[in-house]
C-alpha cells in the first residue's frame, strides 16, 4: 500500500486527474491539503474558508481515496481560527496545513497550536532552507524546531525533506513530535538515506506535492533509497495511517 501525505487539490484541475495519476503510480490513498496559494501568501478569512470548502468537497468526490486537512492563516483573528478549525474537523478533515502566511516561531501561532492540542490532530507545515527566493514569512527547520519544543504534545509534519536537507534533519532530530515528509523538490538522492539513519524510519512519511510534482518521480525517490522492506512500509503508508488515526 502507498499513502501520499502531501497533495493539493487545485481549483483549476479538480480531483479527477489526481485520482487517475495516483492509480497509475500505485498510490492507494492521499491527503489533500488545499489550493493553498490560490490567494497568495496572506489569505483572508473568507478566502481560507473558500479553500477549505473546496477541500471538503474534493474529499467527498474522491469516495474514500482521499482525506483532507484544513488550511489556515494563523495571523487571522483567534475566534475565526477556532471556529474554522472546529468546522473543518466536524466535516471530517483530519488536521491543519500551514503554508507561508506566518513564520512559525512567532507567538501568533499560539491560538492555532492550542486548538491542535485540544483536538489531538496533526499540523503539516511547509518548510524549506532556502539560499534564494525565500518568502517573507516562510518557515525553515529552525522555526519548526522552536515551535515543536513550545508545543511538544502537538504532532508536526515538517514538509519537504529535500528542501530541508541534512541541516533540517539535524534541527528536528531531538524533537520526537516532528515527522518529516519526502514531498517536493527534485528527486534528489541521499537525503532520505541520511534521514533514516539519523531519526529512524518511524518519523518519515512519503509525500509527493502533486500536482506541483509528479507521483512517479516522488515515489521513485523513496524506492531508490536502498531501504529495508520494513522501513519502506513505514515510510510509504504505516506511519501515515498511524498519524492520521486511519
Amino acid at each position: 500500500m502507498i499513502y501520499d501525505i502531501h497533495t493539493h487539490n487545485m481549483q483549476h484541475q479538480g480531483c479527477g486527474i489526481l485520482m487517475e495519476q495516483a492509480r497509475q503510480h500505485g498510490i492507494d490513498r492521499f491527503l489533500l491539503l488545499g489550493d493553498v496559494l490560490r490567494y497568495g501568501e496572506f489569505p483572508t478569512a473568507e478566502e481560507v474558508s473558500e479553500i477549505n470548502d473546496d477541500t471538503i468537497a474534493c474529499v467527498k468526490e474522491c469516495h474514500g481515496m482521499a482525506d483532507g486537512f484544513c488550511f489556515m492563516n494563523p495571523a487571522l483573528p483567534p475566534e475565526f481560527i477556532r471556529s474554522e478549525v472546529s468546522r473543518c474537523l466536524q466535516a471530517g478533515l483530519k488536521g491543519v496545513k500551514l503554508e507561508i502566511s506566518v513564520c512559525c516561531r512567532k507567538p501568533v501561532m499560539d491560538t492555532l497550536m492550542q486548538e491542535l492540542e485540544k483536538y489531538d490532530v496533526p499540523l503539516l507545515h511547509h518548510c524549506w532552507f532556502k539560499t534564494v527566493n525565500k518568502y517573507a514569512e516562510e518557515s525553515d527547520p529552525v522555526d519548526i524546531s522552536i515551535l515543536a519544543k513550545r508545543f511538544p504534545r502537538v504532532r508536526i509534519v515538517m514538509a519537504h525533506l529535500c528542501g530541508c536537507g541534512y541541516r533540517g534533519v539535524e534541527y528536528i532530530a531531538d524533537c520526537p513530535n516532528v515527522y518529516v515528509d519526502t514531498s517536493g523538490g527534485q528527486p534528489e538522492n541521499g537525503f532520505l538515506q541520511y534521514a533514516v539513519k539519523r531519526i529512524g524510519a518511524d518519523r518519515l512519511l512519503y509525500g509527493s506535492d502533486a500536482p506541483c510534482r509528479d507521483f512517479g518521480c516522488q515515489v521513485g525517490k523513496v524506492l531508490d533509497g536502498g531501504l529495508s522492506a520494513g522501513d519502506l512500509d513505514k515510510i510509504l503508508y504505516k506511519n501515515a495511517l498511524e498519524l492520521l488515526k486511519i
Binding site: Q24, W128, T131, Q186, E188, D214, Q218, V219, G220
Partner: protein
Amino acid sequence: MKIFDVNLSTGRWPFRRLPQENLADLDAAVAKAGISGGLVRSLDAPFSLNINEENERLLEVCRPFTHLIAVPAVRPDFGLWRQITGDFAVLHPNYHSYSLLADETLEMVETLLNRKIIPLIVIREEDERGQHPLCKVPPVPADEINQLAAKFPDKPFIVLNAIFEYMNLTEPNIYLDFSFFESFPALKNPVEKLGCKRILFGSHAPFFCISAAKSKLSYDKLKFEDIEDITHKNMERILNER
C-alpha cells in the same frame, strides 16, 4: 528497451557526498535500472582550476566501463579544448563564468562543431534554492543558448538540466534531457509543446534517483515509438546527422 542516459556524472561534488559518486557504484545502479549506456561527465570539473586534469581522470575511471562514454569539459579560456577528441564535450558557462556569446566561446563552439563534436550545455547542477550560500550560481540564460544555437542552425546542441517551464528554448536544433522535467504528469508539458523528437533520456544520477527518471516514461500519452525516440533513437539520429 534500450535506454541511453545522456546525463550521468562521477567524481566528488564539493558540497555533499552523493550515494553513487564512485563510478562502479553508479554503473551498478544504472545496470539495475536497465540502462544500457550513457554519457558521463566530471563532478569535479565545474570547480576545478585545471579541467584538463579532471578530463584525464574521467577518461581513466571510465575506461573499464565500455558502455559509458567519458565527456570532457571545455572552456574557452582554457586552451586545451583545441586538443579535445571524441563525440561530445561539456560546457559549464555559469560555473566557469563566461558568456556563450563571447567571441572566444563562438570560436571554440564553431571549431568543436566543425570537428563533429556535439556540445552539451549544463544549465545548472542543482536546485538554486539549495545552493551553498557562498556559492550562488544562477542558471545559464535561455536567451544565450537560443542565440548560440541560431548561429549554427544545422548543428545539434544538447542542453542538460533545464526546468522546462522556466526555460523557453525555441531553436529546433536544441535537444533537452528530461532530468528536471516534472509537470503533472512529468512529461505532459514538454511533450505537448516540444513533441518527442527533441527530448532525451537523462537521469542526472547520482544527484537524482534513477527510478524517478524511468517513471517518466510511464506517461500514458507516449506511444511506443515516442518512448524509443526519447530513450535512444533521438540520440542515434543526432550522432548520424551531425
